[in-house]
């Protein structure tokens, strides 16, 4: 992994970290409404997976993978516009927070119902395979979402069709307030995916950005080269609440402490320092990220709010005369 790639990885992690910190501040000020989901402690997984993909690959990120959007070319302003519900945002204010995607950039719009995007990813990968394109489709699966039937149906189809799909398991130990031990008996998802669906799966420390990148990149290249579906299980801790309203007091102190020194962003900065990147260069990356976030926020705040008269546009791609003229 080149020096430049590693700096890009850091930049992406910082963008998510600083963006989310900004969003939480806005939320507390009441300037962002609804729910706010963030991925603190999982930025490295999101960034690594996004960076591991090729330009023509496609991805279905979830709630905690903002850096993956950025890696695909989604801008800070686009993301803020979705949180702020602006007319020129990815969902035109129709949806909020992380519930968006930018199809033009190969990013499928997140739906809330967990599990749904696993079969969707498999179908996208099938299309690429069918057309002989060397493209890969990637999605994320939280350990909680691993309990959903759609997840299993999708993994099974991926294996049977032998498609170039990559599954990144986000094992962050919690599903809202539910610890992984109450979610399942065997918590080793990599082992289960390999044993159950014959999908090669590697387990990595998701707070180690470089290791995670190496694992996902290898999985992506195996998928691209015709070796069928691949999986990577990234181990992290959701060190904050499920969403902004949740203080996660149900997470035992010992567990928090165990992860206290495993902040993926700090670890990556430290690692780059060890690898000889000068402190001021690192500071510059951080500063540039902060500026990019602030600039994006200003742009988004300058964006217009949506016009209710357009609410019914685009329900259908090819609208039919509505049955009910009396609107």
């Amino acid at each position: 992994m080149s020096r430049q790639q590693r700096l890009e990885l850091l930049r992406l992690c910082l963008l998510q970290r600083l963006f989310e910190e900004r969003v939480l501040a806005l939320y507390r000020q009441g300037r962002i409404v609804g729910s706010v989901y963030t991925g603190r402690g999982q930025e490295a997984v999101a960034a690594a997976a996004g960076l591991a993909l090729g330009p023509d690959d496609v991805v279905c990120p979830l709630n905690r993978e903002l850096a993956c959007h950025f890696a695909r070319g989604v801008t800070v302003a686009e993301a803020f516009r979705n949180f702020l519900g602006r007319a020129d945002g990815p969902t035109r204010g129709r949806d909020g927070n992380m519930h968006f995607g930018v199809p033009a950039k190969g990013v499928f719009p997140l739906v809330s119902m967990l599990g749904d995007l696993v079969p969707v990813t498999v179908g996208a990968a099938f299309a690429c395979k069918r057309r002989g394109e060397r493209r890969v489709a990637l999605t994320f699966i939280g350990e909680g979402a691993f309990s959903v039937g759609d997840t299993h149906e999708g993994l099974n189809l991926a294996g049977v069709w032998h498609v170039p799909a990559v599954f990144v398991l986000q094992s962050n130990r919690y599903s809202y307030s539910t610890p992984v031990e109450r979610q399942m008996v065997n918590t080793n998802l990599a082992e289960r995916i390999e044993g159950g669906w014959s999908i090669p799966a590697e387990r990595v420390d998701g707070t180690d950005a470089l290791a995670t990148f190496a694992a996902v990149r290898a999985a992506v290249e195996r998928a691209r080269s015709g070796y069928g579906p691949q999986a990577v299980e990234a181990l992290t801790l959701r060190i904050h609440g499920h969403a902004a309203h949740d203080d996660a007091r149900y997470v035992p102190a010992e567990l928090r402490e165990a992860y206290a020194d495993r902040d993926p962003v700090a670890r990556l900065e430290e690692r780059l320092r060890l690898d000889g990147v000068a402190a001021d260069e690192l500071a510059a990356v951080r500063e540039q990220a902060r500026e990019e976030v602030e600039r994006g926020l200003r742009e988004a705040e300058a964006s217009p709010t949506p016009d209710p008269s357009e609410l019914e546009d685009g329900v259908w791609a090819a609208p039919l005369a509505p049955p009910d003229a009396a609107r």
Binding site: V33, D95, Q183, L311
Partner: protein, 328 residues
Amino acid sequence: MPAYATATVEITYLEAVTQALRDALREDERVFLLGEDIGVFGGAFGATKGLLEEFGPERVLDTPISEEGFVGAAIGAAWMGERPVVELQFADFATCALDQLLTVAAKTHWRSGLALPLVVRAPSGGGIRGGPFHAASPEGLFVGQPGLKVVCPATVEDAYGLTRAAIEDPDPVLVFEHKALYRRVRAAAPPVSLRTPLGRARVAREGTEATVVTYGACVWTALEAVELLGADVEVLDLRTVWPFDGEAVLRSLGKTSRVLVLQEASRSTGVAGLVLSLVARLGFELLDAPPALHAPPDTPVPFAPELEDAYLPSSESTAEELERLLAY
């Protein structure tokens, strides 16, 4: 948003739900609760707060994320004579448990005489900036389905009385609670003995000039609209939306000769179609004006405040519809 009362002995709609669950758990060993994050966390909206502490993990179960799975499990427990009460974290996720509900819960009694006393509670509705996946009113998916019962409490009394009645009922009952009412509506704590009969509408306001047939949060919208308008309009709260109280609708129509159906579900879903079908077929001669419908457009629930506020029926927009109806 007016507060509907302020005395101190009062409880909220949400507290009424919690109290109904607590009283049912106390009175009937067969009752147990299951759903995502209802134990340690007390539920996404706090409806089960304190119940794990009082009744323990065998009666208040945190489930894995598997709506089909735990609704199916509740059906199995009901088969064995238990009285399971499921919480869906959001009503929107009813689509994820729909097959168990329509295939097994709804059809089993008709097919084999086996009753399945099962309750599925689901926080529904908009007004909290939930967007397309956290603000839906999906009751229409179940309205009309043989073997199911669907209730939508609007008041503190019915939040308690319908929940208790649903738990005691031998059939599968879906309870769509309204998120926007959880902390907004308050009233005196209902007596432990209160039961709201399933299948019976309630006249929320007597009137003679027209009838608003509605349910859920829209009951309050209708009452506000009538105040705004200062007209003598009757407000009928269906309470049970399936099978709904057609007699009450026709009785009120007989009095007023004009009807407006008001719902929060998008206009081609919900219960409006069946109510208007009934009115047209059986109330035709009672009508002095075309029956009217006021409901959101046929789109998902939008997130942005500007959009959601325009999308949801308001007391003002409802008053306008009523005015038009009365002017006919």
